[in-house]
């Protein structure tokens, strides 16, 4: 399937032969000249096997999936990410005008490794670590006061663990900054037919599918 539309947080769906039954979703970090870049963390069987792939091995890739992507705009934007949630934000950073970037992590090692990916695009990069070993000590929200006080933001894009996305979205709501979040759910089909990844819209009637309507939503659509 040829790429369909929009830049932003596109995700793709990868499968290797034989060993797995379900495809695995990943965000796109870059897509150029027929090449796609992804960044992934080894967490289980599928990513473990991916890590053993070598040049010439063949994968079946489906996507990009979903209608819900981060809005690309000219407005001052904060990109806030935690863990591998940072990966798709790189794609967005490349298309945003000097975004502010917030990298949240556990340790200095885990946090700093993301800096080079954002450095070419970012106006400024903030970091938080659980242990204070790099940047501000604490959760992502610990950096928000400082960021808000130094930058006049009009959009926030968040991708990371749900608690992080919720708390950033809350802070954004208080400041009346529009906020988009990228959800993660276990998927089977990736195209909206299995209903494995659905949730209830919080600001209106009806239900969404992370794979087909997302993965990116306005924060108020999905968090109460």
């Amino acid at each position: 399937m040829p790429p369909r539309r929009y830049p932003g947080n596109l995700s793709i769906y990868i499968i290797q032969e034989a060993a797995l039954f379900l495809r695995r979703p990943f965000g796109i970090v870059a897509a150029k000249n027929g090449h796609i870049t992804i960044i992934y963390r080894i967490v289980g069987k599928g990513t473990e096997e991916m890590s053993r792939l070598t040049v010439g091995d063949v994968l079946s890739i489906e996507g990009p999936l979903g209608e819900g992507v981060f809005t690309v705009s000219d407005m001052p934007t904060l990109l806030a990410g935690g863990g591998v949630g940072l990966a798709p934000l790189i794609f967005l950073a490349a298309q945003s005008p000097e975004p502010i970037v917030l990298i949240a992590g556990k340790t200095a090692v885990e946090t700093k490794c993301w800096v080079p990916f954002f450095a070419p695009y970012a106006k400024k990069i903030y970091m938080t670590t659980d242990d204070g070993s790099a940047g501000i000590k604490g959760m992502a929200t610990a950096a928000l006061d400082e960021i808000f006080s130094h930058h006049l933001l009009q959009r926030i894009a968040v991708c990371g663990p749900t608690p992080m996305m919720k708390s950033v979205a809350q802070a954004a709501a208080v400041k009346k900054i529009s906020c988009e979040v990228s959800l993660e759910k276990r998927m089977a089909c990736g195209i909206g037919v299995c209903l494995g990844c659905t949730g209830e819209y919080k600001n209106r009637d009806g239900r969404y599918k992370v794979c087909a309507d997302g993965p990116v939503f306005a924060a108020e659509e999905v968090f109460a």
């Binding site: 379900l22 489906e62 089977a188 037919v193 209903l195």
Partner: protein
């Protein structure tokens, strides 16, 4: 088109291929428009429709298992009214026969729902009886021949469409279930639905699925499905719609030899959204290679 060796007939329908998309794995079919041409699809079997909208189960709904998957979607669907108003017209426009999968909680509700679905654009109904009977205290229609027969009779009484009863494999005696629904007037049986399974998240010491248990599907269950199709097809006169783990044309040939007149692909659509077309092409090549004039010639032709 009907000169094609893989054209098939089923309950009076003329199908381009004997390979359908199974309920719950194929949406309403139109979601596959990016991957499949209408003529590559035997029929669409819709996601299960209930009288009222259902939100389905909370929590994790999907787990991968060896050569298969568990799901506990919990019959999430927009309800029959929204289905008829907003979805059915789009499916009809796509010109692929639509079989509507339906579910309810009491015998009476099954009858009423069948009546609501007795409308143009619906080629047949497939009645899912794997859900608990709320009135009879949660007894599952699908594991009791009498209850299954009662549902069959109620549905038959309320629709002019062909009625396919979809049987649950979680029973001691699948043949007696099939015989019961045949005697109650079913026009065909679908088998199999999912087997009840479970997975545990050992890190958090809790069930992986929000609903604790879920339905197992995929190649893992194919040997069981094939056995049940074979057992049932020998004993009943109405046709069998076979499913359970089908991934390739060879699997379809196995099911047809075992006695399935037509088949459906379920979970494998998730892995390979072009599965129906790939399988149809494989079947057609098989027919030409083997000099089979019409694929349904092989139905039940196993030498046992």
């Amino acid at each position: 088109m009907n000169n094609s060796p893989i054209a098939a007939s089923f309950l009076g329908m003329s199908l381009n291929t004997p390979v359908m998309g199974a309920s719950g794995t194929f949406g309403f079919g139109i979601e596959y428009a990016d991957f499949l041409q209408p003529e590559q699809i035997g029929a669409i079997i819709s996601k299960g429709i209930t009288p009222l909208p259902r939100a389905g189960n909370p929590g994790v709904r999907i787990a991968e298992t060896p050569a298969g998957m568990l799901n506990c979607i919990g019959l999430e669907n927009p309800g029959v009214e929204v289905f008829k108003k907003s979805i059915l017209p789009n499916v009809v426009a796509w010109k692929v026969p639509l079989i509507v999968n339906m579910s309810a909680s009491t015998v009476e509700e099954y009858g009423r729902l069948a009546e609501q679905l007795d409308v143009p654009g619906v080629a047949a109904v497939e009645v899912n009886i794997s859900c608990p009977n709320v009135k009879e205290g949660g007894i599952v229609f699908g594991t009791d021949p009498q209850a299954a027969a009662a549902v069959t009779a109620a549905v038959k009484a309320h629709t002019k469409k062909p009625v396919i009863m979809k049987l649950s494999p979680n029973v001691t005696d699948i043949v007696s279930m099939a015989e019961a629904v045949e005697a109650a007037g079913a026009d065909a049986v679908s088998l199999i639905n999912t087997l009840t399974g479970m997975a545990i998240d050992i890190q958090h010491k809790r069930p992986l699925l929000g609903n604790i248990t879920g339905g197992l599907s995929g190649p893992a269950i194919k040997p069981i499905a094939l056995r049940m199709v074979w057992q049932v097809a020998k004993q009943i006169r109405i046709p069998v719609l076979g499913m359970g783990g089908i991934c390739c044309w060879q699997d379809v040939v196995e099911f047809m030899l075992a006695g399935a007149s037509v088949v459906a692909v379920g979970a494998y659509n998730f892995l390979q959204p072009t599965a129906l077309a790939d399988i149809a092409a494989g079947l057609e090549a098989y027919c030409r290679r083997e000099g089979i004039f019409h694929i349904q010639e092989i139905v039940g032709k196993i030498n046992d």
